[in-house]
């Protein structure tokens, strides 16, 4: 891959490595992220897919991918990647496989797997310095089972298992886990957060990651129309709003050193993002939950203050 930085959307590679006609929901932000990631990664890859929404992209006998693909269970896609990577290496070393046939190994998982069930196998793979790419599409809940609470679900959100009610009007009372920092404490060569609304930023991060051998990790914040409750046509707008309100910082870490790759000139209030989604509607009606709204805004402000990036 040409590793020079691209500057505009017009410079994105025109090749598509994922074909249309999948079973994903209309407006799926994850699918959009994946499309850009595959443009960046090329077709000489093998995807190791944790159980989740994207398991249903490949349904016998159809596949939308131009590359190879292997299903694993939710807890162990990084371990599957380990097996594939090690096997390719030893087969090439023993002369049983032409080095031309070498592949990049890519884990694809949702947040339920990445934040919760597969945390142990992910930690193991990073710790072993496995040479692989890890893409987490984070829609902040277990989307494939109908949107239940996951370790990625944000405070104040409604999910199937955190329904707002008389006793718990706020919905989820827990804060989203900080997966970026969990990964970063392992000091892998490269970690990035990305967004399908910022394809140039996304593409450049993959180009940058290319130079590193070892774990290359990407978390993409992705809107989920049925889970979040919004019109599929608004998907990119919501992805953009999560960045512009400061809720989803676009950043990267090289060997543990964190830098932000995009800082909004002026942060929009988080309410602009929250009020567009059914999963936060209980924060506004029948009564405004001022405390909850305030604490979400404060959490965002504190983050940017800590990084001295708040204008």
């Amino acid at each position: 891959m040409d590793t020079s930085t691209i500057r505009s959307i017009k410079e994105l590679p025109p090749e598509e490595n994922m074909l249309p006609g999948t079973a994903a929901c209309a407006g799926c932000g994850g699918l959009l992220t994946l499309r850009y990631c595959l443009k960046a990664l090329g077709d000489k890859i093998v995807i190791v897919n944790a159980a989740g929404c994207f398991t249903l992209l490949t349904i016998y006998p159809f596949s939308p991918f131009r590359n190879s693909w292997l299903y694993t269970a939710m807890a162990c896609a990084p371990a599957g990647a380990q097996g594939v990577r090690d096997a390719l290496d030893i087969l090439i070393k023993k002369g049983k496989l032409d080095p031309e046939e070498n592949l990049k190994v890519v884990v694809l998982s949702g947040d339920g797997s990445a934040y919760d069930m597969a945390l142990s196998s992910t930690s193991g793979a990073i710790y072993r310095n496995l040479d692989f790419y890890y893409i987490c599409y984070d829609n902040e809940a277990y989307g494939n089972t109908g949107f239940q609470h996951s370790g990625a679900s944000p405070f104040g959100s409604r999910t199937g298992t955190t329904p707002p009610g008389k006793e718990v009007p706020v919905g989820s009372q827990l804060q989203k886990k900080n997966l970026f920092d969990i990964w970063n404490s392992h000091k892998p060569p490269y970690i990035a957060t990305v967004s399908p609304a910022y394809p140039v930023d996304l593409m450049n991060k993959f180009k940058k990651a290319e130079q590193f051998k070892g774990p290359k990790l990407f978390i993409s914040h992705i809107p989920c129309p049925p889970g979040w409750g919004f019109d599929p046509s608004r998907s990119v707008r919501l992805a953009k709003l999560s960045v512009e309100t400061g809720l989803w910082p676009l950043k990267e870490s090289v060997h543990g050193e964190v830098e932000h790759t995009y800082v909004p000139k002026k942060f929009k209030p988080v309410e602009e993002y929250l009020k567009e989604q059914e999963r936060f509607s209980h924060l506004f009606k029948p009564v405004r939950q001022e405390d909850a709204l305030k604490s979400i805004q404060e959490m965002v402000d504190e983050y940017w203050k800590k990084h001295e990036l708040l204008p």
Binding site: T58, T72, G80, Q82, G83, A87, E101, L103, S123
Partner: protein
């Protein structure tokens, strides 16, 4: 190479070394650990050209093993007991991938209470997964079975993973004289793994383990696995013939001991069948026409061989080293299912013994033969019984007193 004194564990490791395995993802658990330590040492000192990686759990280990196998590497892994159960989910998945992984399980009782001694609830828990299961009595059989397991698993008419089982402690740490086959001879028996079906290749994209929507497709794939497993019995005979021709040792899907004119038969598996064989010999001295049948395969289940071997016998006692809580012995149920439609079938008695490595004494075997003889005289079969002696009961009573529970 000649004979050496090897434990069951080191015999397994020798099987892996001679099979020129490419890749070993590992995770330690007693009593299996000696296998991976032995392999790790050989890789470290250069006597084995393979890639070894310690994983973060058995769940990850089995996943990595299956994935490497799907990528085209000859792969080995091993576990025991709780480890096998921790990876249980991926046992089914890997079998469904139809990859020729070979895995040794060193049987150990399951928690709770936690113990180190063996019984077979661990391996029998994965009985229905699609893995073939070979159960070994001796250290030699462990080594030989690992080699035969690869031949069988990699045969394109089978393409199912194989589990080779041995008893923890009783076999894993028992030294026996084991013939270590010559490398060149092994190569002529087990050629390099050059899979047509596997290999993730840039030039030939492939999806493995894809979802199906609907029972028709699901049934189709599951039934294919079932047929492949059944194929394995016939193909195993070819493998055995080749093995005997090259190495001079003969293995069948069942092991028959003094069965020819026998009337009263013990059915046992694994290393405790050595005790059973000694009991058969003694019974013969007392004039009892005793014999022993040891299924080497539990999956696929060698139905027709077992039916043939038990034709015309008076009584059969199944000694299960496992307990399906709320039902009884698992192999007893399998045997009952196997013989049910036979018009001329022997009486079938059930005993549960050897749980957690508990010894089965000569007296207990005598008790079993008595029960078989009286059942055959009266036609009345007593309900299943747990082999537990008076002195053992006294022992536990004492412990209960100490614990203040009596």
């Amino acid at each position: 190479m000649g004979k050496e004194m090897l434990t069951g564990n080191s015999a397994a490791a020798w099987g892996v070394r001679l099979a020129e395995v490419d890749y070993i993802p590992a995770y330690p658990i007693t009593p299996q650990t000696e296998i991976i330590e032995t392999i790790a040492k050989w890789i470290s000192d250069g006597s084995m050209d393979a890639s070894f990686v310690t994983m973060d759990s058995e769940h990850s280990m089995i996943t990595a093993a299956g994935a490497a196998s799907a990528t085209g590497a000859r792969t080995f892994t091993t576990t025991s007991s709780q480890g096998l159960l921790y990876g249980f989910e991926m046992i089914y998945t890997v079998a469904g991938w139809r990859v020729p992984l070979v895995m040794v399980n060193v049987s150990r009782g399951l928690s709770s209470p936690i113990t180190l001694g063996p019984d077979h609830n661990d391996i029998l828990a994965v009985r229905d997964s699609g893995f073939l299961q070979i159960h070994c009595e001796t250290c030699q059989e462990v080594l030989d079975s690992v080699l035969m397991a690869y031949r069988l698993a990699e045969d394109e008419r089978v393409l199912l993973p194989v589990m080779v089982n041995m008893d923890g402690f009783y076999l894993s740490f028992t030294r026996e004289a084991v013939e270590i086959p010559d490398v060149e001879k092994v190569r002529s028996f087990l050629p390099e793994y050059r899979p047509e079906h596997a290999f993730f290749k840039a030039a030939r994209p492939m999806a493995q383990g894809v979802a199906v929507l609907g029972g028709d497709y699901y049934s189709y794939f599951k039934y294919q696995m079932h047929l492949a497993s059944q194929n394995a019995l016939e193909i195993y005979k070819e493998v055995c013939d080749d093995f005997e021709r090259i190495f001079g040792r003969k293995y069948e899907v069942i092991d028959e001991y003094m069965m020819e004119d026998a009337e009263y038969i013990l059915v046992m598996t694994n290393s405790f069948s050595t005790l059973g064989k000694a009991a058969v010999k003694r019974a013969r001295e007392d004039g009892v026409k005793a014999g022993l049948l040891r299924p080497r395969f539990l999956r696929p289940f060698p139905e027709s061989e077992i039916k043939n071997a038990l034709k015309g016998k008076k009584a059969v006692a199944v000694i299960d080293q496992n307990i399906s809580v709320g039902k009884g012995g698992i192999i007893y149920s399998e045997m009952a299912g196997c013989l049910y439609n036979e018009i001329d079938r022997p009486l079938l008695l059930s005993f549960i013994g050897g749980l957690g490595g508990k010894n089965i004494s000569q007296k207990e075997f005598e008790f079993i033969f008595e029960k078989m003889i009286s059942a055959s005289d009266t036609g009345i079969v007593e309900p299943p019984s747990l082999l537990y002696t008076e002195s053992e009961l006294e022992g536990i009573t004492k412990l209960k007193e100490i614990a203040g529970k009596e």
